[in-house]
């Protein structure tokens, strides 16, 4: 897993069937990457639903969040609509898990991304990373602490 200080590998992934997100287009902004195993986990403890409520805290720190899993764009779209998510979910679908592997957070055995968080600073360097046990939703306190640290600089 990539650690603090490493350059965040660039990527280009679909957020919708006709929209691609390039990490390098977000230089000058803080970026949060939340890798997670799969769409459609139970509602109340769902990590993406939690981040959805926190967008205003993230924007306070000039940060954009992306969820990333190996689910396809169509699956992401249905999931976003069902959960009313207001941030992009990226499909690490083809070649499967390529970006997750680049960040060192791909679980080869189950063929899914691990549950991992990265905060990337405005210059594209990893400022903080965290690998959570797959069954545990890591919350957002670590993300906010890392963003706060960045704005202090």
């Amino acid at each position: 897993m990539l650690e603090k200080g490493a350059t965040a590998p660039d990527f280009e992934l679909n957020a919708t069937p006709d929209q691609k997100i390039k990490l390098k287009d977000f230089k000058g902004k803080n970026v949060i990457l939340a890798f997670y195993p799969a769409d459609w986990s139970p509602v109340c403890s769902d990590q993406m639903a939690l981040y959805n409520e926190m967008l205003k805290y993230f924007s306070k720190y000039d940060a954009q969040i992306f969820g990333i899993s190996v689910d396809s764009v169509w699956c992401h779209l249905a999931f976003e609509q069902d959960r009313k998510l207001h941030f992009p979910l990226l499909a690490d679908f083809e070649p499967k898990g390529k970006v997750s592997k680049a960040y060192g957070v791909y679980d080869e055995e189950v063929g899914e991304s691990k549950r991992a968080l990265f905060v990337i600073d405005k210059e594209g360097k990893i400022a903080w990373s965290y690998l959570s046990p797959t069954a545990v939703n890591p919350g957002a306190d670590g993300i906010l602490d890392a963003l706060e640290e960045l704005t202090k600089k």
Binding site: V43, C44, S45, D46, Q47, A49, L50, N52, E53, M54, Y57, R83, K84, L85, H86, V136, N137, P138, G139, A140, D141, G142, L144
Partner: protein
């Protein structure tokens, strides 16, 4: 290990004596079914341990997932201004199965609030700020779903039944 930020203070709604050895803080959402399930168990814990524990409740409404959660949190905080926070808290959980936008005034009437004042207070900025401050406290404390419990300031990894079991073991 996540810790509670800020600590329990006079800004919190608290049941139980300040001298209690164990302080439990619950972050809850009035529309969350898991919180509804936890409600009677938390009552059992309070009955079983009496003066040994005190309970504080902070709002953690997942507004995007639960349409009426924020309104319910505001209703409870408005009731608090008439010293009836816990009456509203209990009424909301006991009527969770039929939660909707009209429920709050009905419950306000049932628990004997001054309705006119209640209607003003649910619109008041300080009431909304209290709900948002609670939510932010949850975010900073590592709340990752509802209900989340903190025992003497440390996040408890489990649901209300697990909490009951842990307390039984640690006080026996």
């Amino acid at each position: 290990m996540s810790t509670l930020k800020p600590e329990v203070s006079s800004h919190d709604h608290i049941q139980g004596a300040a001298s209690a050895a164990i302080t439990i803080v619950e972050f809850g959402d009035y529309q969350c079914p898991y919180c509804g399930d936890a409600y009677p168990i938390v009552k059992e814990i309070q009955d079983a341990f009496g003066d040994q524990i005190r309970l504080a409740f902070r709002n953690f409404p997942l507004q995007e997932s639960h349409e009426f959660a924020y309104g319910a949190a505001v209703a409870a905080e408005a009731a608090a201004l008439q010293d009836k926070f816990w009456e509203m808290h209990d009424a909301l959980y006991e009527n969770q199965y039929r939660i909707n936008a009209d429920l709050f005034e009905e419950l306000a009437e049932t628990i004997g609030l001054d309705l006119e004042r209640f209607q003003q207070d649910v619109e008041a900025a300080n009431v909304k700020q209290k709900v948002e401050a609670d939510f932010e406290s949850g975010v900073r404390s590592g709340v990752n779903g509802t209900p989340s419990f903190y025992v003497n300031g440390t996040k408890f990894d489990g649901n209300a039944s697990d909490l009951y079991q842990m307390l039984k073991e640690s006080t026996s």
